[in-house]
Structure formats: structure tokens, C-alpha cells
Amino acid sequence: MSVDRRTRIGLRVLALGYLAVLLLVPVGLVFYRTFEKGIGFVWDSITTPAAIHALFLTLEVAAITVPLNAAFGMLAALALVRGRFPGKRLLDALIDLPFAISPIVVGLALLLVFGRTGWLGPTLADAGIQIVFSVPGIVIATVFVSLPFVAREVAPVLKEIGEEQEQAAATLGANAWQTFWRITLPAVRWGLAYGVVLSTARAIGEFGAVSVVSGKIAGQTETLTLLVEKRFQNFDLAGAYAASALLALIALGTLLAMSLIGARRSES
């Protein structure tokens, strides 16, 4: 297709302008506002006990969620691409459910199951297990909303590499376990890594579902996103910006990892 020079430049300006207004300016302003009052203020507001706890809780939740999602996503992708079983199309549709449902609905649904008066809640409470308003609830909510990423990234790669390498491994004597670790996993590693990064970004940034099930108890069940919201609600704008900047920094790190993986993936 040949587009004349003027149109081409026009389109570029339009696309970049759109991105700038919607993405770069807001994120840039967050950083600008954060450091407006000086680095000392920022440091103080992200090192309060509540903020430190929120940061570590966020990382803890991600550290539990992401491996769970990686394992499930890998299994689901294998089942979807390699498996032959009844209900495969149903599984295919169900995996996307977390993308389709609003996180706040997910939170409410989890309350209905694990809440004090919920379906499983009382039984678990009798056994001394508290899900809602504690860390397990936050983990479950986060697992739910970031469930599809790994499966959706790995499945197309699995489909593309085909079954022949695995069959070749089998004829050479490798059992299913050996074939998985030595052939399948290395072949899909960049897809898996990409899914893990997306999953991590989502786990760290999740707000809606977590805000419902966590109970937002400062120093106990308050994640970074919840801290930002609380400070914002309390007119502590500078504090909210500082916590936001911390979140944005983590996100930028994730983005960097993502583009590095993307580059490696297109090489191989």
C-alpha cells in the first residue's frame, strides 16, 4: 500500500498524540506531582509502616499467585492444545471468564462463597480458616482475575510448534515427564515468560476484586492499590501520588521485562 508522505506523517502524529494524551501525560504527571514536594517527602510517605506493609503484601500476593497461575496456565494450555476430551470447548470458553467479568463482581462472588454467611464460609470458619478479610482471600481474588494470561500466551505457541518434536522424543525413549521438561517446556519458554510477566503486572495492579474481599485493614490486608485509594479518599493527594509512583515503577519494570522477552521471542 502506498500512502503519501503527508498522510503518513499525519497518521503518526495522530497515533502518538492519542497515546500521549491518554498514557504518557497522566503517568508523567503522577511522577511530576510525586516529586513536587521533594524526594525526602516521597521517601517518608512510602516508608510509613502502612506503606511498607502494603508493598510487601502486594509482592507476597504476587509471589503466591504467579506460580499458581503459571502451573495452571501451562496445564490448561496443554489440555486445550494437545488434549482430546469432552468439554474441551467449554474449558476454552471458561478460561476467558475472568477477562469478561468485572473484577468487582468477582469480589462479590467470592464473598458469596467464602464470606461469613457464604456457602463455604461457616464450614471453613469452624475449621479455623479465614479466607475473606485476610490474605488467602486476596490471593484467591488475584488468582481469579489473572488466570487466563499464561494459558492464552502458551496455547498458540504450543499449537505452532506442533506435536512432532514431542513424538520424536517419545520414539527416542523419553517418557511423558521427560518430554515435558526437556522438549515442550523449553520450546514454549518465551510464551510462558510473557504470560508470567502479564500475570505479574495484573496481580500487582489488581484493585476491584481485592478491594471487596480484603476488608482493607491497614497494616494487615491493605495492598498498594488499596493504599493509594485510601490516601486519595482522605485528601492525602501527595501521599497517594507517592504510592502510585511506586506502583508505576513496578509496572515500568514489568514493561521492560516484557519488551526484552518480546525481543527474545521474535528472535527464536
Partner: protein
């Protein structure tokens, strides 16, 4: 030896294999030949254990292998599209089966070196499959299959994805290799020339059934029916029979019992010359002459020749 007895395999409504029994003798190269959809690849995959037959048994080296998974059959399998392990170097690809068998490092090293020498890829050990040509990848795949010292070697259209030149070269190379290392081999191909050149025995398949089994010359010289005849080489139709064009003789003067015909087209194919003639009753016949014969006859479009129908041939 491999023996397959009364094997059937269906995919939905499609019958891929219909009560097939074959044998592949020890140390020989058996070709499964046939058009696409004839079931030849399915049969090979059943022997390998990559497909499970609906009925019948597979015996490999005297052991009933029907219910054994591929890894327990003692086979080496080579795929049409190489199935190279892309994330491993050539050396690691070839060593794969030996590492799975937990062989010692020195043993693996020397075995891999020996195989790389056998397939002529000594200088490429540290390259990745993406850095090799198709022919090199397929030789790597052969080395990888041979590394585990399989009792039978199964080749699924191994040269099908390669250029004509590379294909001819690898074919000659495979024949030499099979003379050096006479492992029982089954080769799937749709190329009759490849089967004729490489195989000790040909099993010709059609629609999931066996059309004919025998030595290449047997199939060529005594075809069981018109399908076998036309699959194994060029044919021409004459008086309701199929004949080989090289059995049709032409002369520039009338002889007893010969028929008059007119030359329509002359095609020079280098070492041979194809002459298309039309007979008095309008039937078109192709004769294949050697260069010397053609030079003596000097056929050209419109010239009158006399034709002797061959005695051999099968009814069409």
C-alpha cells in the same frame, strides 16, 4: 523383523487401513509406496506406536508390540519435517536418546562423534537446527534416530520436504548408509522412483489396502493390475490395454503385423525421445525411443511410421 497382522484403523468415517498384513524382513529396506491417502503413513505410525490400531497386531523383533508405547518399541523414527529439537544444538539433538538412557558422558561423546561422522556433519556439532539446511537437518534426524541403536528404523517421507537435487543426493547417501549399517528399515514414500531405487521390497498401498507386494522389478515387470502398472511408471493405452511406452516399437517402413500411424508430436527429453502418434482408428499412443533409435527414425510431426504393439501389458 516387523510383522503387521490384520491391522485396521479408521479416523471417523475414513478408513485409513483396512485389514492390512505385511512383513518387513531383517536387514532389508521395505518401502511403503502409494498415493496420498493410501494409508502408508498411518501404517508406519502404527508400527511406531504413534497411532493405536483399531484391530490387529504389530510384532517388532519377535515381541508383540501392539500395546507398547513408542518409547518401548526399540524403534528409530524420522519425520518428513525433521522434528528437530530447535532449542538444542546438533550434538544435543543426536545425544538426546542416549541421555534419556542415562549413558555415561564419555560414551555419549564418542557415540555422537561417530554418528556425526557417519552422516557427514562433523563440523556442525555446535550449530542449532535453524542454522542448518533441510538436507543437513534430515541427516541430523537420522543420526539422532540411529544413536539409540534401534532394532528397526522407520522413515516417514524423509526426503519429501527437500529440493529435487538434495533429494537425489540424500537418496544415494541413504542407500550407501544402509549397506554400511544394515538395520531393518521401513520407508514411506509416494515417489515410485525413490522406492525403486532404495527398496529391497515394495508394498504398494491403495485406499488402505495392499495392491501388490514384491521386489521392485517384480512390480514393474509383472504388475497385478492397471493401478500398479500406472503407479510404477509411465503408461500408454493401446487396444484397451496399458503398455509401457518404451515397449512400443516404431519403424519407418511397413512390416508384417505392424500398424500405420502418424506422428503428432516429438518431445526431446535428453537421453530419451517421446513420440506421440495417432493410429488409424484415432487412438493416441506414446512411444518412448532412445536417442539412437530416434536418430535412425527421424520422426517429425506429420510423418508416417509403423508401430508394433508390445506383447506385455495389462488390461486397463
Amino acid at each position: 523383523m516387523i510383522s503387521v497382522e490384520s491391522v485396521s484403523k479408521r479416523f471417523g468415517d475414513f478408513t485409513a487401513l483396512d485389514d492390512i498384513s505385511i512383513e518387513a524382513p531383517d536387514g532389508k529396506l521395505t518401502a511403503l509406496l502409494g498415493p496420498s491417502g493410501s494409508g502408508k503413513s498411518t501404517l508406519l505410525r502404527v508400527i511406531a506406536g504413534l497411532e493405536v490400531p483399531d484391530a490387529g497386531t504389530v510384532v517388532v523383533s519377535g515381541r508383540d508390540a501392539t500395546n507398547l508405547p513408542p518409547q518401548k518399541r526399540g524403534i528409530g523414527f524420522v519425520f518428513q519435517h525433521y522434528a528437530a529439537f530447535k532449542h538444542m544444538t546438533l550434538r544435543d539433538n543426536v545425544a538426546f536418546g542416549l541421555k534419556i538412557r542415562k549413558k555415561g558422558k564419555p560414551e555419549i561423546e564418542s557415540k555422537v562423534d561417530e554418528l556425526l561422522h557417519l552422516v557427514g556433519l562433523e563440523g556442525f556439532a555446535d550449530r542449532y537446527p535453524a542454522q542448518l539446511s533441510g538436507g543437513q537437518r534430515q541427516r541430523m534426524a537420522l543420526a539422532r534416530a540411529l544413536a539409540v541403536e534401534p532394532s528397526v528404523l522407520l522413515l516417514d517421507e524423509p526426503f519429501g520436504a527437500l529440493d529435487a537435487n538434495v533429494r537425489a543426493e540424500l537418496r544415494a547417501w541413504l542407500r550407501r548408509m544402509h549397506e554400511q549399517v544394515p538395520v531393518t528399515t521401513v520407508l514411506v514414500t509416494h515417489d515410485q522412483e525413490e522406492a525403486m531405487e532404495l527398496a529391497d521390497r515394495i508394498v504398494l498401498l491403495k485406499d488402505g489396502r495392499i495392491a501388490q507386494v514384491g521386489a521392485p522389478r517384480e512390480l514393474y515387470d509383472q504388475p497385478a493390475d492397471s493401478f500398479v502398472m500406472s503407479f510404477l511408471g509411465r503408461v500408454s493405452k493401446l487396444d484397451g490395454r496399458l503398455v509401457r511406452p518404451h515397449d512400443v516399437t516404431l519403424s519407418d517402413r511397413p512390416e508384417d503385423g505392424w500398424e500405420e500411424a502418424m506422428v503428432q508430436r516429438v518431445v526431446h527429453l535428453g537421453f530419451e525421445v517421446r513420440v506421440e502418434v495417432v493410429r488409424g482408428d484415432g487412438e493416441e499412443v506414446t512411444a518412448q525411443l532412445t536417442r539412437a533409435e530416434a536418430e535412425a527414425l527421424e520422426p517429425h510431426a506429420g510423418s508416417i511410421v509403423w508401430l508394433r504393439p508390445p506383447a506385455s501389458g495389462v488390461s486397463a
